[in-house]
C-alpha cells in the first residue's frame, strides 16, 4: 500500500545561468512501513526530491509540475498554511548535516519542548514525558536533554535530530544522509535503530544517501537516481543481485567491498551532464558502455519490467547479458594504467 505516490514531479532551480530541472519527471512510490533508499551521486537531485516532498525547497527553487500524493492528498497543490500542518505531524525531515541543524543556543530539552508544544495539544508535563520517551526511542541518554548541542558528540546530535523528527509521531521520515560523517560504529547503531523504529512505529522512511552499502544494509527497496531522473527501482536484494540499468551496474563496479577485496574496481568514466543543457536522449548515454543509436536521441521511460522492478533503459530486456559485459573494464573505456 503506497503512503506516498509521486507522479511526474518536476522541480526547477532558477540560477544566474538559466533554469535547471533538478528533478525531471520523477515517478516513485513509498509504501507504508518501508525504508526506501534513494541513491545517487552529488547533483543527481536526490536531496531536492526529498525536500520537494515536504516542500522546504530553497528560495530559488520550485515545483514546476507533477503531483505528490500523500495518503490521497496532493501536497504539491496545497496552499502553504495547509502544507504547514503536514510538516512534523505527518512528514518530518532529518536534514543533511543534521548534526549542525540543532539550535546552538538552546538546550536540547528546550528544542524538544518547542516542537512538542507546536500543536498546542500537549501540556508542559506531558511534553516533558514525551521528550524522555523520545530519548529512549533513539537511544539517547535522557540526561542529555539538559545539554547544549556543542556538548554532544556527532552521534548524539544525530540521534537528537532523529528524535525531534519523531516528536509528533509522523508517518513518513525523510532522512538525508543521516549517517554520513559519523564513525562506522555509530553509523551501525543509528541505522539499526532506524530500522527497528520503522517496525515498532510502522514508520515509512525515505533514506537519501550516496552510499550503496548503507542502502544494502538498511533499505527494503531502493531507487537509483541519475541526472534528475529515477533510472531503476526495486527491492534492494533484487537490484543488487540483478541490476537492470547500466548506471546501477557501474555503481556496483566502482564500490569497494571489504569482504571482496580482490575485485578490480571499475570507475564510470566521465561526469553527469550539466542539467542546464541536458542531452536529449538518455542522460547516461554519454557514459554508458552499452549505448546504441537510439540512446542519445530517445529518452527512455521508466518501465515496469517485472512486478515491482522498474528501469529506464532501452536495453533493459538484455540486462542479463549486459551485466556480464559490465564486469569487463575495457567496456567502460577505462584508460589503461
Amino acid at each position: 500500500m503506497a503512503l506516498l505516490t509521486i507522479e511526474d514531479l518536476r522541480v526547477e532551480y532558477r540560477t544566474s545561468r538559466g533554469v535547471t530541472r533538478a528533478v525531471d519527471g520523477v515517478n516513485l512510490e513509498v509504501h507504508e512501513g518501508e525504508v526506501l533508499g534513494l541513491v545517487g551521486e552529488s547533483g543527481c537531485g536526490k536531496t531536492t526530491l526529498g525536500r520537494a516532498i515536504i516542500r522546504v525547497l530553497p528560495r530559488n527553487a520550485g515545483i514546476a509540475g507533477g503531483r505528490i500524493l500523500f495518503d490521497g492528498t496532493d501536497l504539491a497543490a496545497l496552499p502553504e498554511p495547509e502544507m504547514a500542518r503536514y510538516r512534523w505531524r505527518e512528514i518530518a525531515m532529518v536534514p543533511q548535516a543534521a548534526m549542525d541543524s540543532l539550535d546552538p543556543v538552546y538546550r536540547l530539552g528546550d528544542q524538544f519542548h518547542e516542537v512538542l508544544t507546536i500543536t498546542g495539544r500537549l501540556a508542559r508535563a506531558a511534553a516533558r514525558a514525551r521528550a524522555l520517551e523520545l530519548c529512549d526511542l533513539v537511544g539517547l541518554d535522557r540526561r542529555r536533554l539538559a545539554a547544549y548541542p556543542h556538548e554532544l558528540s556527532g552521534g548524539m546530535r544525530q540521534r537528537a535530530a532523529i528524535a525531534l523528527a519523531l516528536a509528533l509521531s509522523p508517518r513518513l521520515i525523510l532522512a538525508d544522509e543521516p549517517v554520513t560523517a559519523l564513525d562506522v560504529v555509530v553509523q551501525h547503531h543509528i541505522l539499526r535503530r532506524l530500522r527497528q523504529l520503522r517496525a515498532e512505529l510502522s514508520l515509512s522512511v525515505v533514506l537519501v544517501t550516496h552510499d550503496i552499502s548503507v542502502i544494502a544494509q538498511t533499505c527494503d527497496r531502493m531507487a537509483v537516481m541519475y541526472a534528475g531522473k529515477i533510472v531503476e527501482v526495486g527491492r534492494t536484494v533484487d537490484v543488487f543481485a540483478r541490476p537492470q540499468h547500466p548506471y546501477t551496474m557501474g555503481l556496483q563496479n566502482s564500490f569497494p567491498n571489504l569482504l571482496r577485496p580482490q575485485e578490480m574496481l571499475i570507475p564510470i568514466e566521465g561526469a553527469p551532464p550539466d542539467l542546464l543543457t541536458p542531452p536529449p536522449g538518455c542522460r547516461f548515454a554519454p557514459r554508458c558502455p552499452f549505448a546504441v543509436d537510439r540512446c542519445p536521441v530517445d529518452s527512455p521511460a521508466l518501465r515496469e519490467l517485472t512486478p515491482g522492478r522498474w528501469a529506464a533503459c532501452h536495453r533493459a530486456e538484455e540486462a542479463d547479458v549486459l551485466r556480464l559485459h559490465a564486469r569487463e573494464a575495457q567496456r567502460w573505456r577505462v584508460p589503461v594504467l
Partner: protein
C-alpha cells in the same frame, strides 16, 4: 648533523638494512590543553599520538585507519614533519626528521609529498591549473621555462587528464572534484617524490569517480616504486589499496600487519569491532550484532591500562592495570591485546 643535501644524497644510497624507508620509533605527540580564557590548565594534555612504532618498507603502501580522533591525521603530519613529536623520532631514509633544517629540510619536502582530502582547498583558487603545478617546480628550483611546461603537461597526462593542454588555463572551480583530485595528485608528483601521504584522498569524491582515482594512485605508486601512506576511515578502501594496515585507537597502534590478515582475520577486539560495523554493499550479508558502546573516551590526562578497555567485550582485570604491548599474532602481524600474550 644533517648537512644540506644529506637527505637528497641518501636517495641514491642503500636503504636501511631492513629495507624500510620510514621508521617511527616510540613517536609521541601530546597537545597541551588550554583551560578557560587565560593560559593553560595544570599540565593537562591531549594524547594525540601516544608511543607509536612501525616501519614502512620502501615501495609499499601503509593504510592507517581508525575512528575520528584516533590520531591518524596527527601521525600523517608527523611523518611529513608538519608537526614535530613530543618524544620519540621518525627516521626517513636513515635520517632523523627532527634534525633537519634549512636546505636538508627543503630536500625532504621534495621527497615527501601530501595529498589532502578536499581538492578545492588544496589548490589555490586564483591559480590556473598550469600555474598550480608549476609552483612546486619554482619552489624547488627544478627546470626552467619550456622544460617546466613539459613537466606540467607530462604530469597531467600521467593522471589521465586529456588533453593536458586543455587544462593548463583552467581554474580549479572549472573542474569536477575527481578531475581536481587528479590535479592534486599530479602536483604531489611534480617534484618526483619517493614518499606520498594521502589523507582521505577520495572521501569527498563521488563513488563512480573514486575508483578511477584509487586505481590511478595504485598504478602510479607501483610504476614509480613510491612508498605511500593512506589515511582513511574506510576499511574497504584500505583493503583495496594497501599492503599493510595499521589500526589506531586513541593515539596508539591496536593492530598492524599484512592487510589481508588484519582485515580478514582481525585479532584485536577493536579491529573486530570496526570490521563488523563497516557497511558492506551486499544486502544478503547479515548485519552483525554489535554490543560495544559507540562512545570513544577522550584521550586527555594520563593513560591507565589498555586504551580500549571501556569498550572491549573481552575485558580482563589486567586490562585495567597494564597497557598491552604489541605482540605477534601471525607472520608480520601484531596486536596490542592481553588476549594474545603468551602468559595468558
Amino acid at each position: 648533523m644533517a648537512r644540506p643535501g644529506a637527505v637528497m644524497a641518501s636517495r641514491a644510497a642503500a636503504p636501511r638494512i631492513d629495507g624500510s624507508l620510514v621508521v617511527a620509533e616510540a613517536v609521541q605527540k601530546y597537545f597541551p590543553i588550554r583551560r578557560g580564557l587565560f593560559g593553560r590548565g595544570a599540565g593537562d594534555y591531549l594524547r594525540g599520538v601516544d608511543g607509536v612504532s612501525f616501519a614502512i618498507p620502501g615501495g609499499t603502501s601503509l593504510g592507517i585507519a581508525g575512528e575520528s580522533g584516533c590520531g591518524k591525521t596527527t601521525l600523517a603530519r608527523l611523518l611529513l614533519r608538519l608537526l614535530t613529536p613530543t618524544a620519540g623520532r621518525i627516521v626517513f631514509a636513515g635520517v632523523d626528521l627532527g634534525t633537519l633544517d634549512g636546505a636538508a629540510l627543503l630536500g625532504f619536502r621534495r621527497q615527501a609529498q601530501l595529498m589532502v582530502q578536499n581538492p578545492y582547498e588544496a589548490i589555490n583558487p586564483r591559480f590556473t591549473i598550469g600555474r598550480a603545478l608549476m609552483e612546486p617546480l619554482i619552489i624547488h628550483r627544478i627546470g626552467a621555462g619550456e622544460d617546466r611546461l613539459d613537466r606540467v603537461i607530462a604530469a597531467l597526462t600521467q593522471v589521465n587528464l586529456h588533453p593536458a593542454e586543455a587544462f593548463l588555463d583552467k581554474f580549479p572551480h572549472q573542474l569536477s572534484g575527481g578531475q581536481l583530485q587528479r590535479v592534486g595528485l599530479a602536483r604531489a608528483l611534480m617534484v618526483d617524490p619517493i614518499f606520498l601521504v594521502a589523507d582521505e584522498p577520495v572521501s569527498m569524491l563521488d563513488v563512480s569517480v573514486r575508483a578511477g582515482v584509487l586505481n590511478l594512485m595504485k598504478a602510479i605508486a607501483r610504476s614509480r616504486q613510491l612508498t605511500t601512506v593512506y589515511i582513511s576511515h574506510d576499511l574497504s578502501l584500505v583493503r583495496y589499496v594497501c599492503d599493510t594496515t595499521m589500526i589506531m585507537y586513541l593515539g596508539t597502534v591496536a593492530e598492524i600487519g599484512p592487510t589481508d590478515a588484519v582485515l580478514a582475520h582481525p585479532k584485536h577486539p577493536y579491529t573486530q569491532l570496526l570490521v563488523a560495523a563497516a557497511p558492506v554493499p551486499d544486502p544478503t550479508y547479515p548485519v552483525p550484532e554489535i554490543a560495544a558502546p559507540e562512545q570513544v573516551p577522550t584521550p586527555i590526562g594520563p593513560a591507565h591500562g589498555c586504551p580500549f578497555k571501556d569498550r572491549c567485550p573481552h575485558v580482563m582485570p589486567v586490562c585495567h592495570t597494564t597497557t598491552p604491548p604489541l605482540v605477534f599474532v601471525g607472520p608480520k602481524h601484531q596486536a596490542a591485546c592481553h588476549l594474545y600474550e603468551p602468559t595468558h
